[in-house]
Symmetry: C2
């Protein structure tokens, strides 16, 4: 399949085959792909929670307004932002750069100082919005990687984050869930798989200047 055929193949899976499970190789690939997402300033403050346990996921279905994909998919991915982002994260990031690349402090320090200024000046709301934006980059990346790997997925904004955080104990880890992505394989009788894709023509969404 060409790139476009793969993107065409992808759809928001409404019904997963509850009896098929992604291989451990595919799960590892999705974890690595998440970790390779391009993020603002390279600062990796996102976390991805991976849940296979069916009983645990069954309890989340009502929190996701009854969407069965949460439990029926092979795995549930939960994209989370940190409730607190501060100098600790920036220091850790620059320590990682230093250890990976052996970059001298003299080169790193001005960037570090600038980023520290930028981040610490943000209000909590601004930080949350900024971090949430990054989670959406990860979502876009993961859905496309899934399409290339013939993995089905269904992006979800529709759930009650606070309740999900409590149910999974994410609040005690200092995390806030922002997006769900059930992944697995479509059920053979998911009628949505066969529906024609609804898209505006390029003439309405692209502007050549």
């Amino acid at each position: 399949m060409s790139t476009l055929q793969k993107l065409q193949w992808r759809y928001a899976t409404k019904k997963f085959d509850a009896n098929t499970v992604l291989s451990q190789d595919k799960i590892t690939l999705l974890k690595e792909a998440f970790n390779l997402t391009a993020l603002s300033y390279g600062l990796q403050t996102l976390k991805m929670v991976v849940i296979e346990d069916k009983a645990k996921r069954e309890k989340l279905v009502p929190i996701a307004y009854g969407q069965r994909q949460v439990a029926d998919a092979s795995h549930l991915l939960v994209l989370c932002i940190q409730s607190k982002i501060d100098e600790t994260d920036i220091n850790a990031h620059f320590n990682t750069i230093k250890s990976v690349r052996n970059t001298p402090d003299a080169i790193l320090e001005p960037f570090k100082a600038q980023l520290t200024g930028t981040i610490t000046k943000m209000t909590q709301i601004k930080k949350d919005n900024w971090a949430t934006n990054q989670a959406y980059i990860a979502l876009g990346n993961l859905m496309t990687v899934c399409a290339f790997e013939a993995i089905d997925s269904c992006p979800m904004e529709g759930f009650i984050p606070q309740k999900l955080d409590e149910a999974l104990g994410l609040d005690t880890l200092g995390l806030k869930s922002v997006l769900l992505l059930p992944v697995g394989y479509r059920a053979t009788d998911d009628m949505f798989a066969e529906l024609k894709k609804v898209r505006k023509p390029l003439s309405q969404t692209i502007i050549d200047l």
Copy 2:
């Protein structure tokens, strides 16, 4: 290359080869890929501006704090949200569904009413944040598609949107730019291409529950 090798190959290109241009096929592919991005409610309110003209892009460099990629890349993609999102967009969307899928009104109407309620209840700030999130999905999708197509790219949040909108006349089109993505081919002497990727180990970014 495997999927992970392709994602590893991708980096935020600091220096593009100013003399190579993406083929028209590649540009069309990027437009189609943008148009196939999975968006909230399937509501396509995003627009992508595609600029090849060098002179036009040269004027945008100072607006992007001197980042040369804006002018040196083969093309500049500008992801935009609409300054106004209302019932007109929802009506157009449901008309498209109807024309593509022949779905009966009796099935569509409840969804349409629900979505109209959701969107019209949003404050302008909430609408902007919601729409901006969608632009980040498109960015994530596009960067990954680029990696699979051996196209280089550099995601940019760092520019002055209002000035860019004025310079390109996007304000008069009712659009607000939110992200830039220069695309093209890396310069052979971009030292950043060879630097080791800086990423936390999976143990710090993934939580298995």
